[in-house]
């Protein structure tokens, strides 16, 4: 059962008041709020069994190590990966992408090789590739996008060739809420012996992800965008590829044998997790995934579909709203402009009415340019948002337009 009232009460921040009034949180694409279960789990770690993992021979360390490793199983099952060692804990999506750029590309890319990147990627899935390809003298080729911000498949098919060694794409756009056809992209890429990294930052809180059926080579996401703590994320990689990867960081528990003059690396996954990890964060992420599972993606998708439909028709009904997309989004993300008004002005006045939205370039300046804009107002919803909030949002928008 999907009881909205109960679900909202799971998230303590949603009952916060500002100037004695409740607030509307429509910035879920930037970060989601945290259910009490996640907060409790983090608190519980520090209160009851704080200890370093994989090191101590005592009861506290046993407990934290077990909980940490259990979370790896939770994430493996969440992504439907085959093996626990294919799940690497990172500080977030950005670190995951950087690990592939600087620890994997360098193992095989030659000068003149090509990397395909969607024009709609956010900075975290563009800048690391730019820097890595500069160093390796490889070339980044941009992939055109359709009017809804997804990869134009005919352009992709034109550009893939034997020189293309890697493709980096987002699963769902943080601007348009539309989804790339990952399965087809991976299948075509593999016919040309190219690898694919999928940035799942905007996907994992909205739909179930199956890396096995997508057949992507790497998949990454951030914990804080799926109800978990900040500072924790995941890199999934196929085992044979992770084995080829060189770590970016060295030290801590990632070693095999160490002498003063030499060291050997340990096994997966520790090889790629140098130093003491964000143990509380990882355990909190496990609680977040358990929370998602307890709701079930069928329920989440249904609730978000209803919200998206309502939001879409409300915005479409307003004359002076220019949406960034032509078709309703697959996940409830709405980037738009009020004609003739700067997105910053809209965001500022919405904030006065206790409505949190994102404004500006949305960490994706090239993508914003691609959509012929200089910045958007972005309202990104989540299953805990309500139809009433959409109604309040629309009347607030009308008030903003009147004031400006």
């Amino acid at each position: 059962m999907f009881e909205l009232k109960k679900i909202r009460s799971d998230f303590p921040i949603l009952s916060k008041k500002r100037n004695e009034k409740s607030f509307i949180y429509f910035d879920n694409a930037a970060t989601t709020q945290k259910p009490q279960e996640v907060i409790n789990e983090v608190c519980d770690f520090y209160t009851h069994y704080n200890s370093n993992i994989e090191r101590g021979m005592y009861f506290l360390a046993d407990e934290s190590t077990k909980k940490f490793n259990d979370t790896r199983s939770i994430v493996r099952s969440f992504l439907n990966a085959k093996l626990n060692e294919e799940i690497i804990f990172t500080s977030g999506c950005t670190q995951s992408i950087n690990m592939v750029c600087f620890g994997f590309l360098n193992t095989f890319i030659k000068p003149g090789d090509q990397i395909l990147i969607g024009k709609m990627e956010h900075h975290a899935n563009l800048v690391p590739w730019q820097i890595a390809s500069n160093r390796l003298k490889a070339k980044i080729i941009p992939l055109e996008s359709s009017e809804n911000g997804v990869i134009d498949m005919s352009d992709f098919k034109k550009k893939i060739n034997s020189k293309v060694k890697f493709i980096a794409i987002q699963h769902i756009s943080n601007i348009t809420g539309h989804e790339n056809n990952i399965q087809e992209i991976c299948s075509i890429a593999h016919q040309h012996n190219a690898f694919v990294l999928v940035d799942g930052a905007q996907a994992v809180s909205h739909k179930s992800v199956n890396v096995h059926s997508l057949n992507c080579d790497f998949y990454c996401f951030s914990g804080h965008k799926c109800f978990g703590p900040t500072g924790v994320g995941v890199l999934y990689g196929k085992k044979d590829l992770l084995l080829r990867m060189t770590p970016l960081l060295f030290g801590g528990n990632m070693i095999g044998r160490v002498s003063f003059s030499n060291s050997s690396l340990g096994d997966l996954p520790q090889k790629l997790e140098a130093g003491t990890p964000n143990i509380a964060g990882v355990i909190g992420l496990g609680a977040a995934i358990n929370y998602i599972s307890s709701l079930g993606f069928n329920n989440i998708k249904l609730a978000e579909k209803l919200l998206a439909e309502k939001m879409w028709s409300a915005l479409k009904a307003m004359n002076n709203i220019a949406l960034s997309i032509k078709a309703p989004p697959q996940s409830p993300v709405f980037s738009f402009n009020v004609k003739g008004i700067h997105s910053y002005d809209v965001g500022t006045l919405l904030d006065e009415m206790n409505i949190c939205v994102r404004t500006g370039s949305l960490c994706a300046q090239p993508a914003i340019k691609e959509l012929n804009s200089t910045g958007f107002v972005r309202a990104s919803l989540c299953f805990y948002n309500t139809e009433e909030e959409i109604e309040l949002f629309v009347s607030a928008l009308k008030k903003v337009i009147k004031l400006l």
Binding site: H342, Y344, D345, T348, L349, E352, T359, G360, L403, L404
Partner: protein, 138 residues
């Protein structure tokens, strides 16, 4: 005109309004009444970094007094630029370098207009201060 007089005029203007809507309307009116900056001045060197909207500030000192012009592509930010122009224009350089950002509280901007934390007003004030400090150093 001195900074203190300019400030008290701005403070009493804002005190006329009871609601946030009225305060913003006032700020937006200020923005609308600001003389637009000539296109030639809207270049990268006049751009103030640290603002979400584009803000350009052009400072000039004549007879030890500051003349400041500015513009923004967002109307609320433009209102804030207008406010700073009213506040600092024709003030002596020596006076300006001794002011600090606490006047934002006195005007009631921080209290009443919650957006001031993110709109780059501090970056704008810093730019004006730095211009005056550099002038004095020379």
């Amino acid at each position: 005109m001195s900074f203190e007089i300019n400030k008290s005029v701005i403070v009493s203007d804002f005190n006329l309004f009871d609601s946030w809507e009225e305060r913003y309307e006032h700020l937006i009116d200020l923005g609308k009444s600001l003389e637009p900056l000539d296109l030639d001045f809207k270049n990268n060197s006049n751009l103030v970094e640290g603002c979400q909207a584009n803000v350009w500030l052009v400072c000039e000192i004549k007879n030890e007094k500051l003349n400041v012009m500015g513009d923004s592509d967002a109307i609320i930010t433009r209102g804030l630029v207008a406010l700073l122009v009213r506040l600092f224009n024709n003030c002596s350089v020596k006076e300006i370098i001794h002011t600090n950002n606490s006047f934002l509280d006195e005007i009631g901007l921080n209290k009443h207009l919650s957006m001031t934390r993110s709109n780059g007003i501090n970056a704008m004030i810093k730019k004006i201060h730095e211009y005056c400090l550099n002038y004095i150093k020379k």
